[in-house]
């Protein structure tokens, strides 16, 4: 059998794709499919076959108040981290894009948390949050206030975790805004200066709309991070107190590796996958249509 030149190219291309395809199948597609299947079955005990139960696992999950608490936490975590870190990132970028004494240092200071592992960052913040000897409380006590149990009080703990996350993420998003700011033609500023436009209205009428694609890009990233990054919980709170800081992915980890309940873990994972599917759709429809000039 002889192949045409085109057929040879096709075969060659397929061979080039093969390693990536095998790995993606093994660590992305197959696990996704298996997770969905597992969420529809109850495992059989002592070698009995698994029993198909349809959506029953989902009903059990949705009847569990802990799941709703964790889902609510994750929503609050997203609402707490995303707008704050994006606003800070934009502010930082505007600061270091202008003339500023010591600009190099300031930019480095903003960006440094990005380089740290989340675990190391959480270790450092543990010092600040510790009840008796922590820096925040000694500061409060010096000023004559009573200390706060930053990570132990269920009504404060999630807020404390959010603050640390904002600190960790803002500098990363700043970089993207900085790039976008530098791609804005200086002529626009000159023109607006000639017309006597104030800085404030220049920002809202020109800069901010031009930064829209970047904002959407950063938004997608931060949405993904809000579901994906839970490393700090391992150091700061372990999801406690009383699940007050538990987030969806951490709850999956707990169910799978502490409670050995793979079925519940699979069911929650499917919920996370659905959230990520919404984010992906958002990206591929809205974002790709709007970022025409990138």
């Amino acid at each position: 059998m002889t192949l045409t030149a085109h057929g040879k190219m096709q075969l060659y291309g397929a061979l080039l794709l093969l390693p990536a395809a095998v790995l993606l199948a093994a660590f992305a597609y197959l696990p996704t499919i298996m997770t969905v299947i597992n969420s529809l079955f109850l495992p059989g005990f002592r070698g009995e076959p698994a029993e198909f139960v349809g959506v029953e696992n989902y009903q059990v999950l949705f009847d569990d108040p802990t799941f709703w608490q964790v889902a609510r936490n994750n929503l609050l975590y997203a609402l707490g981290t995303i707008p704050t870190s994006i606003a800070l990132a934009l502010g930082m970028a505007l600061f270091v894009n202008g003339k500023l004494p010591g600009r190099g240092f300031v930019r480095m200071a903003y960006f440094t948390p990005t380089i740290l592992p989340m675990i190391a960052a959480a270790n450092i913040w543990m010092f600040f949050y510790a009840p008796q000897i922590g820096l925040f409380n000694s500061l409060l006590e010096t000023l004559g206030f009573s200390g706060v149990n930053w990570l132990g009080d269920p009504s404060v703990a999630l807020g404390s975790v959010i603050i640390m996350s904002v600190w960790k993420e803002a500098g990363f998003f700043m970089i993207f805004y900085l790039a976008a700011l530098q791609s804005i033609p200086p002529e626009l500023k000159e023109a607006s200066d000639l017309e006597g436009t104030g800085r404030w209205s220049f920002f809202w009428r020109v800069t901010f709309p031009l930064l829209m694609p970047t904002t959407l890009f950063v938004l997608i990233n931060s949405l993904i991070n809000a579901v994906r990054v839970v490393d700090h919980l391992f150091i700061l709170t372990k999801g406690g107190p009383n699940n007050a800081t538990n987030l969806l992915l951490y709850y999956v980890y707990e169910n799978a590796f502490s409670f050995f309940d793979r079925t519940t873990a699979a069911t929650i994972t499917v919920v996370i996958l659905l959230v990520l599917a919404v984010v992906a759709t958002l990206k591929f429809t809205i974002l790709d249509r709007r970022t025409h000039y990138q």
Partner: protein, 280 residues
Amino acid sequence: MNTTTTTAPRSRYVSVPSLETVAAWLLAVIWIFPLLYAFWAAFHPSEFMVNLEIFAPLTLENFTDAWSQAPFARYYLNTFALVTGVVFAQFVVCTLAAFAFARFPVPGKNVLFMLVLIQLFVFPEVLIVENYRIASELGLINTITGIGLPYVASAFGIFLLRQTFKTIPRELEDAARIEGCNWLEILWKVYVPLAKPTYLAYGLVSISHHWNNFLWPLVVTNSVESRPLTVGLGVFSAPETGVNWATVSAATLLSIAPLLIAFLLFQRQFVQSFLRAGIR
């Protein structure tokens, strides 16, 4: 993009800093403070942790304590093996796939490419339970290969390299073919050298990602032999282990030092690589 090449002109007279300058600096001090505090804590005896005495005696004891209480040398070795292995494997696998996507008429190419992009959203850590099972069936639990393998076929790497390869003019490829190069030689002699900046950017992002990664390595490792620094640090500084905080800060600095030093030295490249990698 040239943020570091232009510096603000020095003013000849001392002026009152504007409100903006004050705000920018205040924010900068708040942002760098946690790290500075960790530095301070690591070099001072633990009894000075709270009252922050400027003239507290300096000590290296925290570092020797940390070093003796956990096998940091081993963790370094594991992390080093992990990041070099992952980055090398990613380069190979993603280059081949990106080359196919950029230049070959594979049937159903667009659908396949969309399928690859799904991995931008469905990360290995989201699928920890099933990935753990697959890793254990492959005998990869507690191995460095097990930590790295799920990340090798990186959608991000494939995407980035494909975009770069697509910008390379076909004429160069044709010239190489006239010289008698086969496809792999063309890839190696034309495409790879011209994509060097992309490899550098992707490599830096990948190194810092895998140096910092925690959840999947935590799940897949259960002993000192394969644990990377982050997991070692996480185990070491868990509140229930009762290690004192000065020692924990020393351990924290130990595990971030190489990356932090690299960042300080190559700050500009780092930032640019994040840019290059982020904007698609």
